[in-house]
């Protein structure tokens, strides 16, 4: 029996229709696309695996660390790497380096992530307010941001610590405050480009409240640049917080924190370079992994790079 061919306009006869590419069968979301691109980025995935490993180790520090990180053992001070009972040697007070590095990672990673979260939350609120309400709200907020940005980042962090007093929490707060203007500017930029788009006007026409428009329509659409900025920022925050500790303005001895350890180890670089080199190496590896991952996330989310 001959198959009837539908020749109405707009209908393509089955026999003539080109074979559909396999991938096109399932409708894909932008997020799915981005994740798939990220999955294929080997450097980013290796970095993500390393970071996951570090996070697990840090979370399980009390169970994994072989020794108490603050117990001193003067007869066994400055043992080199590979000493029996102390895989990575001991520091100037005989404390086990491996245990201190594990516990230190807990502090540094926590500070990095929390600081970014605080900076981002505050920055998002400020940026949404400035961009959405414009007018004098915007002017006032933007002038304040200009002033904060008139300081080099690390200097501002140091100034804030000078004001609050040295300490781990204050150092974390300081690096968060430094981050706020950057997030606020990113969000404000997205809001300004979105607020007059048709879907936002449509929402306004059907009577959606300001809060609903801000949260569901504007904030949701400005997430992509925020995620990229945040991924790249965690590394900076970790480095800045460790830097403050190194200067004696952040975490204080005997806390096992990478910046503090590095600073204390400096006195011994002649006899035992490993006690300052190892904590620095950890900061470097974590920040490097975060940068690789951040670059990967950015490439994956940037539609201009799409094939």
């Amino acid at each position: 029996m001959e198959r009837e061919i539908d020749l109405r306009p707009g209908k393509v006869p089955i026999a003539v229709r080109p074979a559909e590419p396999k991938l096109a069968r399932r409708p894909r979301s932008l997020t799915y696309d981005a994740l798939r691109r990220l999955w294929r980025d080997r450097a980013a995935m290796a970095s993500a695996a390393f970071l996951l490993f570090m996070i697990i180790i840090s979370a399980l520090a009390p169970l994994i660390a072989p020794k108490d990180p603050t117990v001193t053992d003067l007869p066994n001070r400055l043992l080199p790497i590979g000493s029996p009972g102390h895989l990575l040697g001991t520091d100037e007070l005989g404390r086990d380096m491996l245990s201190r590095l594990i516990w230190g990672g807990r502090v540094s990673l926590l500070v990095g992530f929390v600081a970014v979260l605080v900076a981002m939350s505050a920055g998002v609120v400020v940026g949404l307010l400035a961009g959405y309400f414009s007018g004098w709200t915007d002017s006032v907020i933007m002038r304040l941001i200009d002033i904060l940005m008139a300081f080099p980042s690390l200097l501002l962090a140091i100034a804030v610590v000078a004001s609050l007093g040295p300490g781990l929490i204050n150092a974390m707060l300081a690096v968060s405050i430094v981050g706020i203007p950057y997030y606020a500017r990113i969000v404000r930029g997205s809001v300004l480009s979105l607020r007059n788009q048709e879907f936002v006007q449509a929402a306004r026409v059907i009577g959606a409240s300001d809060l609903r428009i801000i949260v569901y329509h504007i904030f949701a659409n400005s997430l992509a640049p925020l995620i990229v900025a945040a991924t790249l920022d965690v590394g900076w925050m970790i480095m800045a917080a460790a830097g403050l500790s190194f200067l004696g303005l952040g975490a204080q001895p005997p806390t096992a924190e990478w910046g503090v350890m590095l600073s204390a180890g400096r006195q011994q670089i002649r006899n035992a370079p490993h006690i300052s080199v190892l904590p620095g190496l950890m900061i470097f590896l974590v920040v490097l992994a975060l940068n690789f991952l951040g670059d990967g996330v950015r490439d994956a989310m940037d539609p201009r790079l799409r094939q």
Binding site: I147, A150, S163, G243, L247, G280
Partner: protein
């Protein structure tokens, strides 16, 4: 152009006022009473009240700010509590030493970063390019305070060829000695900006070599070298100027850490020791000086960019 310059310079005034206000407030909020720090823990109540009145600390906050600002503008930046000397001349001397370090570091960063970026771009996806781009990430992931220590260990302790701290050897005053002391700190400070400059030069260059005028230059028979140098690099460097200017922020911050590592007697070292000793006038002055110089460098960068890129519309 003149109008743009005037506008840009005038726009500095509110920013600088904001900076002084913030610096003033930060020190007002700081823990510890400067009067008690100056007089020591055993001072009598009358002496404290008297000194507070003498220093104007019993006045309302806005009056204190205006008096302090007036002093700052007249060049009276107060006296250091710890060093018992005028803050401004002391800080200027220290800042000068930091400036040597930063200028040298920025020069090294440009001299290495710009050619590296150009080579990476014209050999995109080659092995050289990949290695360079991994090094770039390594460069800005390295904590300066750690890199400094490693360089001290390698060049100072293992090889023993370079001085690892201070600005001059005891009894020496020569330029050669000064330069030797500057090598390690400036190399340390240069890595971050070098990485960023290389990366920006590469991406700017990649954008430029895809332009029509590059194809035209090739089509009319110019040699590749000439196409790259005359038509490519000259255009690609325009946005790089801004990036180089932006490194001032990184340098001024990183400088503080580098000075600590190398015990280099610049403004960063003064600032940190000041904070730890609660020497408020020194800290206030140092922060103000560094922040104002950052604002000025940003101004110069903006003006330089407007000057070399005729496509920029001044004003609006």
């Amino acid at each position: 152009m003149t109008r743009y310059v005037v506008q840009r310079v005038l726009s500095l005034i509110p920013v600088l006022i904001g900076v002084t206000l913030l610096v003033f407030l930060i020190m007002q909020l700081a823990p510890g009473d400067p009067v008690k720090i100056m007089l020591g823990p055993h001072a009598s109540e009358e002496a404290v009240t008297q000194l507070r009145r003498d220093m104007g600390l019993d006045q309302p906050m806005h009056i204190q700010y205006l008096r302090w600002l007036g002093g700052v503008l007249r060049g009276d930046w107060g006296r250091s509590i710890q060093l018992k000397r005028e803050v401004l001349p002391y800080l200027v001397g220290r800042f000068q030493k930091s400036a040597y370090l930063m200028v040298l570091a920025l020069s090294v960063a440009c001299l290495v970063g710009v050619p590296a970026g150009i080579i990476s771009a014209i050999r995109q996806y080659s092995l050289d390019d990949r290695i360079a781009m991994v090094l770039v990430l390594v460069g800005f992931s390295t904590p300066v305070f750690w890199l400094g220590i490693i360089l001290q260990i390698v060049f100072g302790l293992l090889l023993g060829i370079l001085p690892v701290s201070g600005i001059q050897s005891p009894g020496q005053t020569g330029t050669v000695d000064l330069l030797l002391h500057l090598i390690l700190p400036s190399a340390t400070l240069a890595t971050g900006p070098m990485a960023i400059i290389a990366r920006m030069t590469r991406s700017s260059m990649l954008e430029v070599i895809r332009q029509d005028y590059i194809r035209t230059a090739r089509a009319k028979g110019l040699g590749e070298r000439l196409v790259i140098s005359r038509h490519g690099v000259r255009n690609a460097l325009i946005p790089v100027v801004t990036v180089i200017g932006l490194q001032a922020g990184y340098l001024l911050g990183g400088d503080i850490l580098v000075e600590m590592v190398f015990s280099y007697p610049g403004i960063g070292l003064v600032m940190v020791t000041g904070i730890l000793a609660r020497d408020f006038p020194i800290v206030q002055g140092a922060i103000l000086m560094v922040a104002s110089s950052y604002v000025l460098v940003n101004l110069i960068t903006d003006l330089a960019y407007a000057y070399i890129d005729p496509r920029i519309h001044y004003g609006t």
